[in-house]
Symmetry: C2
Subunit: 368 residues, 2 copies
């Protein structure tokens, strides 16, 4: 992590490797990242694969796998945000698999992979320092988690974030915030250190968000944002504590069905999850409110309501929509999500309480 670190690529990858570099669109050509990468790898054999879209689709990744197999690629370098890195994790597994890579997504994991390095351009998902990915299938509007190997290295230069669109930064801040909440907002008393560290990231996000809105070119601010996103989902705040992830599971459906940016779906769903599960999560909501939001008094129920309202306010302060109807989501979508959850017989959340019926309640709570 640091200024100019992309140049270190040349030492990170052995020169006898045939590298496929994966990208999203052309933004890396505008912000100088593409040139830095190509310059660093001038002495290496490289091919390029362009077009890994937000919510990386199996339809696209199959093409990359086909190309990589044809070219005998034995190292992957993902240059982009969480979508490019996630997609490249599936490519890494797909290159070692004979059949259709969607099989791997459905089986949920594959650890026989080509090694993968990353150059992160958008702080948000933590994919640069974890072994998870989320892969979509356009034709069926499905979106599932997939686990694979960790990147062998990741390069984080905060300067690459200076030119990001403000909406992407806002979604990245919301995504990071909710990643932390998924690992934190369960039960009290599991681990004081994990609680403090999660709260530390949340406090940081609340502190830096308005400052970033004022000046996205501030190196230290963007470094803190980048660090928050990586530390928010690399396992360092998840040691020995329960995790939730129901908000993400519901959010994924909103992305799959309506194409809403991932971070924004989380900003919509989280306040609903907190409200509907206020009884089960109440003690932790109070701890969060006290330590992170500075809400120290009031009778329990009113205090929880106030904490949820302040959480939604935070997302709105980022410039994000927090109600489904604002994003054109209809009651039919809620029906469909309930139907899907029932069909798959899911029970999400740390206590398995979020099934189709509870998901409906959560979505209705944040409908308008």
């Amino acid at each position: 992590m640091g200024k100019g670190m992309i140049a270190s690529l040349k030492e990170e990858i052995p020169t006898d490797k045939k590298i496929m570099i994966t990208f999203c669109g052309g933004s890396v050509k505008k912000n100088g990242v593409y040139e830095q990468v190509k310059e660093a790898l001038a002495g290496h054999q490289t091919i390029e694969f362009w077009g890994i879209e937000p919510n990386p689709a199996i339809e696209t990744l199959r093409q990359a796998i086909e190309l990589g197999k044809k070219e005998n690629v034995d190292f992957l370098l993902a240059v982009g945000g969480g979508s490019v890195i996630d997609g490249t994790k599936l490519i890494a597994a797909g290159l070692k698999y004979e059949g259709d890579a969607w099989d791997l997504v459905l089986q949920g994991a594959s650890y026989d992979c080509v090694p993968l390095g990353t150059v992160l351009t958008l702080p948000a998902t933590g994919s640069e320092m974890n072994n998870g990915a989320v892969i979509s299938r356009k034709e069926t509007k499905e979106k599932y988690a997939f686990y694979s190997n960790y990147p062998v290295f990741s390069i984080l230069d905060p300067e690459v974030t200076f030119s990001l669109p403000a909406h992407q930064v806002a979604c990245g801040l919301a995504d990071t915030f909710v990643h932390v909440m998924e690992q934190y907002l369960t039960k009290c008393g599991q681990s004081r250190i994990m609680d403090r560290w999660a709260e530390g990231i949340l406090q940081t996000l609340i502190e830096i968000a308005p400052k970033i809105k004022e000046n996205q070119m501030d190196y230290d601010l963007m470094a803190d944002f980048m660090m928050s996103a990586t530390m928010g989902l690399n396992g360092f705040i998840a040691m020995g504590v329960e995790q939730d992830w129901a908000t993400h599971m519901i959010g994924h459906e909103l992305t799959a069905l309506h194409g809403i940016t991932h971070g924004e779906t989380l900003a919509m769903v989280l306040p609903g999850t907190m409200d509907v599960l206020r009884e089960q999560k109440g003690d932790k909501i109070i701890q969060f409110g006290t330590r992170v939001m500075g809400i120290n008094s009031g009778i329990r129920d009113a205090r929880i309501t106030e904490i949820i309202r302040k959480t939604e306010d935070f997302f709105r302060s980022l410039g994000l929509r927090t109600r489904l109807s604002e994003a054109g989501v209809t009651m039919e979508t809620i029906d469909e999500i309930e139907r899907r959850f029932n069909e798959r017989n899911v029970h999400f959340g740390e206590d398995g309480l979020v099934d189709g019926a509870t998901a409906r309640k959560i979505l209705l709570r944040v409908f308008e």
Copy 2:
């Protein structure tokens, strides 16, 4: 980490390895750890080396290296606290070195080592998840840092701490506290996340210390203590920030010259370091006071004085001595430490300000 995890040793070490298990004294035979280790490794080839003392001495470690070479040991398992683990790190390097292992200490590092696993019995040094060690030489009363490989695994069962002597627990709490301070109490504004995480460990220690005094058999409390000690010195709070370590360097001399337990030397020295460097470290002392100690008001200088007093109070609340004269340290010792620092021409601390003369000031400040 967890209850009963020592049994997992059998899967952690390949059965074709010849293991030397290293211990301190007999306490592991009283608390059941020895039996658990032997039971887990019943199917392995093992030999034992006993007697790695607090502040592990090259004189002892040479014997272990000689035995290990004779027996063709190719795996080491340290069962104990930081001293046993530190000492075994030098054994691991010494087994691969032809000459006298003290050479390795003087050169400061060696990474050609036999693999090492650990079973931690005393939370304090973080040695179970870092690559450092401190090795002493009795004949010359010297004590130096040595760097080597990370343990390939470490097993942390909080139950093994239930029977520790209260003084060892107090020293472990102080050691952990000062480890964090060495990585935190430098300058403001380097990394919001690292600051929050360091503060999170300090807050935790201050919260659990009086509770542990009441009930050292509380699993959750001791798990939080164990986690604090490991996270306090495994690099997770040191990313991209300056470090100090002057307090440790002075403390090592007090141990070398007077045999005072490491954690207690730190409790003595830290308030002196804070006071003598109150100008350079003032902003961070204020941040520490505000966020960790709850000291939010007062004019700057009085506030810093109050924060230092409260820090010393915390160490005294653990039952530790905080003044040199209480431990029989004389003015001659201070002369000798100044002489040694001058002779070695040291400049410790994040800005290199702690030389012989400054060390004298620090020690005089906490003399009585």
